[in-house]
């Protein structure tokens, strides 16, 4: 191992006129390395005003240019960046108390002013910790994972060699607060001097427009791109858009976060006509292996990574991207095939103790999946209910329950199915039926999502949340169910419980807020109508549209279910002034 890290020369020694990135819409505009240097300097001025070198900084910033500039400024001072996985207050608070300050586009986050010439610090020591990732897995609290410059350098060098970007435009649909987006969408282009697409590109319409534009553009050079994506956007690439021209400018698509189903890989390949290369790894391990399912299903370890199967059937590996030189075990089961390649067989059995009995949750999931009405199921332990299990079930689309009776009957049938194998004390008590498997932007069912799915158990004022889907930044569809135990049902019309209209309005505002769609104080309502009564056990879909109008934020909502429309209308909110407390 060398005594210094090459990484800093990536930004210290560059051609300042070259494009660091491109704004692509409405008209293409290059952002030079000179500009990037100015932003590094601006962050250095800000950091200098906030604390002495040697500090840790909490950094969350959506804008890739500002994020990269902040990271470089932190490193050049000899400091360390702590990256929360998202910007929810609960994710930030535990880090904020142990860092010098919050930086970026978050509440109480400092952002820099005018551009300023940067200054470069000393060489980086390989063993210095560059950053700490806080990633919440499917269980429990976020884990802190430190990355040294040696680890980052090893992985960046390997990728530059294995999958060189060759100056192509890097377009990202994933968060760079996580290891995959951080490496592939920020550090790789930085290290290899490939330009970054600075226009946000999370939605397929925008992606299509940018790629189509690229294929005919004479302004943007290079004219080919590498797409950094994940299962959720790839699975949902809409077929009603024409991808033919867009596909011509794509050189390669990467996907990581969770495995793509074979069908999703096929779907994306057909539309994009580009290799869909998946990366398997984790925050701890970095990249482990890759595959292209259009070629074969098995995974091939990256150069330098050794993968074996231990005597319990789990994957263990040795890798230059790990913190240690030894072997580390993963919770995934595998089958080795020839030449070091392997097939993943799912996670190691999840074992729970319920009512004094030990059982495999994995086996229960598999048992549920054999029911003819079940596509997929995941049994979960709930933090405050040690004696009972919850379960998330995706039924076949024609089996999704839309009212109390259908839900009661489906649960009865699933309970009976499990009771042939399990004692009734371990059969799940809390059932959540989803029409689309809940996952975060990396394609993972995370602990916060599980908490949200079962939150109505502890707060009987809430509707039961069963999933949200954004089709654009301003439009969101939310699946809801009316819990039979909802507090507002009691006493409204004795004997005939219905959800009062005022409660529906309250939910619309709260959900718009929670989804980050619209925040503000209630101003007025217009054209609000309540049609079909909303009854306990009903399933309903809430469609929310945000628009900015001269008289405030307008939230247009429609709540509909199996029997028709329950309510619709418009709610006007007065946006909060910056600095207002919410």
């Amino acid at each position: 191992m060398t005594d210094t890290v090459q990484l800093p020369s990536a930004w210290r020694q560059v051609s300042l006129e070259a494009a660091f990135g491109w704004h692509l819409l409405p008209t293409p505009e290059a952002v030079t390395w000179q500009t990037f240097h100015g932003r590094i300097g601006a962050w250095q001025v800000l950091l200098g005003s906030l604390g002495e070198p040697g500090s840790n900084w909490l950094l969350h910033e959506h804008d890739p240019l500002e994020f990269a500039a902040a990271l470089v400024a932190i490193w050049e001072r000899g400091d360390c960046a702590w990256l929360p996985g998202d910007d929810r207050p609960g994710s930030l608070a535990p880090l904020a108390s142990r860092t010098r300050a919050r930086l970026g586009d978050i509440e109480q986050g400092y952002r820099p002013g005018m551009s300023h010439p940067p200054c470069w610090g000393e060489d980086f020591s390989p063993q210095r910790i560059a950053l700490s990732l806080y990633t919440s897995g499917s269980t429990g609290q976020p884990q802190r994972i430190d990355k040294t410059f040696a680890q980052l350098q090893a992985e960046l060098t390997m990728h530059a060699d294995f999958w060189p970007l060759e100056n192509r435009l890097v377009i990202s649909q994933v968060s760079h607060q996580h290891i995959y987006g951080l490496l592939f969408a920020i550090l790789r282009p930085l290290f290899e001097h490939a330009p970054i697409a600075l226009t946000p590109c999370r939605y397929p319409e925008r992606l299509n427009a940018i790629l189509t534009h690229l294929s005919s553009s004479r302004t943007v050079r290079p004219s080919t791109a590498v797409l950094i994506s994940a299962p959720p956007p790839l699975e949902r690439l809409p077929t009603h858009l024409t991808w033919h021209d867009a596909a011509r400018s794509l050189h390669r698509v990467h996907s990581s976060g969770a495995p793509l189903t074979t069908a999703a890989s096929q779907h994306a390949f057909q539309l994009l006509n580009t290799p869909i290369q998946e990366i398997y790894g984790s925050s701890e391990t970095g990249g482990i292996a890759w595959r292209d399912q259009q070629m074969e299903e098995v995974w091939c370890p990256f150069p330098g990574v050794e993968v074996h199967k231990d005597d319990t059937g789990l994957l263990y590996l040795r890798s230059p991207f790990l913190a240690s030189n030894g072997w580390e075990r993963q919770a995934d089961r595998l089958r080795m095939v020839e030449n070091g390649r392997f097939q993943l067989l799912g996670r190691a059995d999840r074992i729970a103790k319920v009512g004094g009995k030990r059982l495999s949750l994995t086996a229960m999931d598999q048992s549920l999946a054999t029911h003819p009405k079940v596509v997929f199921a995941r049994t979960v332990e709930l933090p405050d209910r040690r004696h009972r299990l919850g379960v998330i079930v995706q039924p076949t689309s024609d089996s999704l329950p839309h009212d109390h009776n259908a839900r009661h009957a489906l649960i009865g049938s699933l309970r009976a199915h499990l009771s042939s194998t399990y004692p009734s004390t371990v059969v799940p008590r809390y059932w959540r039926f989803v029409d689309d498997w809940p996952s975060n932007s990396q394609g993972k069912l995370t602990a916060p999502l599980i908490v949200r799915l079962f939150r109505d158990l502890d707060d009987t004022r809430l509707p039961r949340w069963l999933g949200s889907r954004f089709s654009s930044a301003d439009h969101c569809d939310i699946q809801l169910e009316i819990p039979e135990r909802l507090r507002y049902l009691r006493g409204h019309f004795p004997g005939n419980p219905v959800v009062p209209g005022v409660v529906i309005i309250q939910w619309v505002i709260a959900l718009a807020h929670e989804e980050g769609l619209a925040t503000g104080t209630f101003q007025r309502m217009e054209r609000v109508r309540f049609m079909q009564l909303l009854l306990p056990g009903d399933r309903a879909s809430l469609s929310l549209d945000k628009a900015e109008t001269p008289s405030g934020l307008r939230l247009t909502f429609t709540l509909s279910g199996e029997r028709g429309r329950h309510a619709n209308g418009q709610i006007y909110l007065t946006p909060l002034e910056p600095g207002d407390d919410e």
């Binding site: 109390h404 009661h408 309970r415 004692p423 009734s424 004390t425 008590r429 809390y430 135990r485």
Partner: protein, 87 residues
Amino acid sequence: MTHSLELELKQMIIDTLELEDVTPDDIDPDAPLFVEGLGLDSIDALELGLALQKHYGIKLDAESDDTRQHFASLNHLAALVEARRVK
């Protein structure tokens, strides 16, 4: 049994055991509460025993055959409450 006591007991069972997919109308007063019928189990029996103590001051011996009798159906439970309630 009075209608109000029937409804009260049904609500107590639903709330105590967090039976999300059950409304009072779903509970047949004559049907078994355990195994078939409502499908309750031994842990539920313990929880219900505690609830009866809290709401009505009734103490049950979980091991006795009587207890099983009392939990046979909602009507049996109501009869127990009417006969032995102290609050």
